[in-house]
Symmetry: C2
Subunit: 286 residues, 2 copies
């Protein structure tokens, strides 16, 4: 088999196509229902990274005709105040998606706030009920955005997933575990690695599909990658030289069959999937 | 390192010890509260295997002083009738655990019935909320019984799980996936294999801990096992020669470090964990 190596997966372009579709559907929704799909974001405190993410989400909503609002709370807000706000949003029929921007300040039980979000408006897919439906592979209404985006990028390569070896580095609820399940349901043989994994390079070298989601900048190097592998870089670290992924892109790129860059790889897809989930939430209302 | 091979894990004896503990606690519970912990089982139709399982559960409850009742319904029972029964049990304060024996007859949406079970009485741990808490590693109230039993057997060997390679064959909601997560949380590097896995023996031979839960009798042979591995056989198939596991026990036993037999391996532990979950459910009530 002849393989061209070093194909770069253009997450930004793929996300743009998906957003164009969502824009059409959001318009149709508004024409039919009289109101646009709407996302409400709860932002607590002044974490600069969170502020930047939320601005990005607002911009993306505006682009595709999804209404959005950001409800800002000071970092000393009490948990019960947030719970009350979520309950209010649950009842508000003009709000279709609710997103609680993480991390929440210390002292607030994030579980409690997240579990208050109605499962029908849980566009981040992090409510235990929705995570349970994903874990059981029972047609979950919402799948967490980054894993969903990562899978779309893998599918964009046209490669067969069934029977392939997939290795996921990282076991977070936001990325590692859900991505593992999505690959498992597409019939990959899935290995989940993490900080306690022994001889990581020996394992990653076996991977036909390698998903790096450890948040350790540039730690995946050429010698850890199987020639021709699909390499999806979910890691994002802010360094002095800008945003940096878990993969040493320049080192790895000519060995990988397909590889996502950072930025413009998984990042734009995460936002696109959030828009998709919000549209879906709106469409599911009667 | 010197390893004795061929150690047989006596699931029946380990389960007996756990049951003795539960018996004490169930007695204490009854003395304090005036009523015993109680399990209600819903059994639909006349599947002989299900009938046998339910009898086993009743016997085990009686042994440890947990009250039990089996509510029998004909196989043509309507789904809404079952939902109504579950709702009644949810409200009954003398009932602490509710178990819907699977499989349900065709035509009944098992998801719908299972999701009706109150998460506080879901002693099988199969409600999406409880599965989601397990998947998120957020202190789930109930963990499915067979995976919980399998982990107890692995722990009984005294072997370190952290950093070890665990390979799980099977990706069911009842066994494969929850067992994978429990091993992951104990810091194993976890690989999930299934019917679409290519070159299964190459993968299983790397396993320090091998969990067979495919339901394919005697398909795990010596050449697939790493010398000294812990082999947990969750498969149970009824054959002409009696109950048979996924592992060819006689073939594998002298190569494994530790191995569970079938029967008297994982089976008794599943029942013990059901009792444990029922006691826990009772103790959690105010």
């Amino acid at each position: 088999m002849w393989i061209t190596l070093g194909n770069i997966i253009d997450g930004k372009a793929i996300a743009a196509k998906i957003k164009a579709e969502i824009k059409k559907e959001a318009e149709a929704y508004k024409n039919e229902r009289g109101i646009p799909p709407k996302l409400s974001v709860i932002l607590v405190g002044d974490n600069p990274a969170s502020q930047a993410y939320v601005r990005g989400k607002e911009r993306a909503c505006a682009e595709v005709g999804i209404a959005s609002e950001t409800l800002r709370f000071p970092s000393n807000t009490e948990e019960k105040r947030l719970v009350k706000e979520v309950e209010r949003l649950n009842k508000d029929k003009t709000v279709h998606g609710i997103l609680v921007q993480l991390p929440l300040p210390q002292g607030i039980d994030a579980h409690n706030v997240l579990e208050t979000v109605s499962v029908e408006k849980d566009v981040d897919g992090l409510h235990p009920y929705n995570m349970g439906k994903l874990f059981k592979n029972e047609n979950p209404m919402f799948i967490p955005c980054t894993p969903q985006g990562a899978i779309e990028l893998i599918l964009s390569t046209g490669a067969e997933i069934r029977g392939k070896k997939a290795v996921i580095i990282g076991r977070s609820n936001l990325v590692g575990k859900p991505t593992s399940m999505l690959l498992l349901y597409r019939h990959a043989t899935v290995t989940i690695c993490h900080t306690r994994t022994v001889n990581l390079p020996d394992i990653t070298r076996e991977a036909d599909i390698l998903v790096a989601a450890a948040g350790r900048p540039r730690t995946i190097t050429k010698d850890m990658v199987k020639p021709g592998a699909i390499v999806i870089d979910v890691g994002i670290s802010r360094t002095d030289s800008g945003l940096v992924g878990d993969v040493d892109f320049e080192d790895v790129k000519d060995r990988a069959g397909f590889i996502t860059p950072v930025p413009k790889g998984v990042g734009p897809m995460t936002v696109a999937m959030l828009l998709k989930n919000t549209l879906k939430a709106a469409q599911a209302t009667s």
